[in-house]
Subunit: 377 residues, 2 copies
Amino acid sequence: MLPFSVVGEDSESTARAAELTTPHGVVHTPAFMPVGTAGTVKGMAAWELERVGPEMILANTYHLLLRLGTERIVSLGGLHRVMGWDGPILTDSGGYQVYSLAKRRKVEPDGVVFQSHIDGSEHRLTPGNVIETQASIGVDVAMVLDECLPYPVEPRQAEKSTMTSVDWALQGLERAGRIRAECPDWGGGVFAIQQGSLDSDLRRRCTDALAAADFDGFAIGGLAVGEPPAALYEAVAMASPMLPGHRPRYLMGVGYPEDILHAVGCGVDLFDCVLPTRSARTGKVFTSMGDLAIKNARHADDPRPLDESCSCPTCAVYSRAVLRHLFVANEVTSVVLLTIHNLWYFLSLMRGAREAIMAGRYTRFRAQVESDRNRTA
Amino acid sequence: MLPFSVVGEDSESTARAAELTTPHGVVHTPAFMPVGTAGTVKGMAAWELERVGPEMILANTYHLLLRLGTERIVSLGGLHRVMGWDGPILTDSGGYQVYSLAKRRKVEPDGVVFQSHIDGSEHRLTPGNVIETQASIGVDVAMVLDECLPYPVEPRQAEKSTMTSVDWALQGLERAGRIRAECPDWGGGVFAIQQGSLDSDLRRRCTDALAAADFDGFAIGGLAVGEPPAALYEAVAMASPMLPGHRPRYLMGVGYPEDILHAVGCGVDLFDCVLPTRSARTGKVFTSMGDLAIKNARHADDPRPLDESCSCPTCAVYSRAVLRHLFVANEVTSVVLLTIHNLWYFLSLMRGAREAIMAGRYTRFRAQVESDRNRTA
């Protein structure tokens, strides 16, 4: 099991600070994982990402599998070598992408068959082979195969699917045990994924079944799939406390700074989201004083950095006026510079949250961040 | 005048090593200037470019003028501040872009009127105002306004146009003198541009007229505009020795490594070209053992770096297999990584040339580079 210890708890919320130890290093939580879908955080050379300083990153098994193939990644020395990244890596199982991207897929009792969105080739994901793939490429945390439910969903479908996900998770863990016995080189962990849509009873039943097994961590899945913001908040508040407290909790694919701060308050430890990186490509910038659209004409003559309280390399060198110019002129450099800033913002936010938790003032920290962000940057 | 001293001469060719001192630092020649068309070398954050290590970069007055505007650049603290680059910057006058890009332009005796390719707005470039613009944004070397002749061209048109360019160059220098008198803050130099198509008599007449004035350097213009490679080589061999030896010689917009090595052998000191940066975006990679197209399937499983003798950051971290994958997957990161490598290659080539010149073995150096590059990387 990956060592995990809670090192601080907030006094007014269930927020907590913890340390997750992986084969490639310790992750201080709450932590945000930048997304490196196809083996790179978009626009970031490996050394640039290192400078931005995440403690763990996420990659997508689905994209890696279809584009590079497991065997090639193995023969190139594993995923860390491929990504030029020596820190912890968590990979999703590919299940989510199969549901959101694949043109044709068929759910069978023992897995999913789908056709590649790239070349139409047929692939089969099973609860066992997704763990095998992730272990063989050397990830630090492997996610089990699950079925991500759409929103809204029929109660009957939700129940059936959730129980399938539980079954797959347990099969995955069992396979991980065999892999570890046969190949002690792999020291990564396996996280289960709680499903159950917005139904608390179903999430509870799912959790109980998963928590009885020795997973290294537990994710909250199936949220941020189109439900209203209030429903997301309620669901996180309902789902997070169900998960075992002595293991890391990971809210998949969420989200905006405010969503993350809410979830941290509910005891969630790990996050990933494409928001900071994807937004950089559309010119949306996150700042401590609210978000801004860099292409807006009001920035054209503004000599200030994106965020006067930010210590990122972009803010140290470039004014809003120049960044707007580069973005409007379609310069690739603007993607690089805005990605750096946005990631820096999310990572700083998490560090701030952690410090506040350690000092027992998380609730005030969160209120201050949200109040500052309500202004117009 | 910008200090310039020849510090080494090859024994078998007219290649030379020199030092050009500018307000923002010394340039050791022969030197290659990466192109930062619209205020950034495409894909390169300022600190990344610094790491790649050019001693001087080029920016385009035309693009800066149309997109940002002179006043804005001045109010943002000048071009160095805008680009986040504290080293020497040379800017072209905009004349070349007016000829190659503008939809509508009209050459008048006292300058060029053109319409922006971006918003159709009308602009006027005069021999004086292009120098004024470049001085006001604080460049280290300003280029005079010239008329870049197409290839092929009628002798009569070539003569008339070349004499216009001479006239404009002298007007530009005169304006520079007035600017310096009124605004001693600007310590940049002015380079003249030799025109004359492929006609050696015309280039000679042009040179004689320009060399009589106190320009800080002399460029060879109007080449690499579509003439056959052999004609380019002959023209450089003919044009370069005409230029005054006590001042830097700059071959504009050239070119391939072999073209540059030939020109260095003819005594040229400075180069710029979009080739390393533009090629990175199309997946063309320069290496000491020949060039390669990274998207080629033969690289798909190749664990080697792009160039085993290269010490660039990209080659230290990424294999050809991974770079191919990133390029094929359309990842912006591949542009960044290939740009770094290609620029590194060109800059290393120039450093190698300089060392060889200092050691009096430039001819052998050039032969070795060309022989190595004839293999298949």
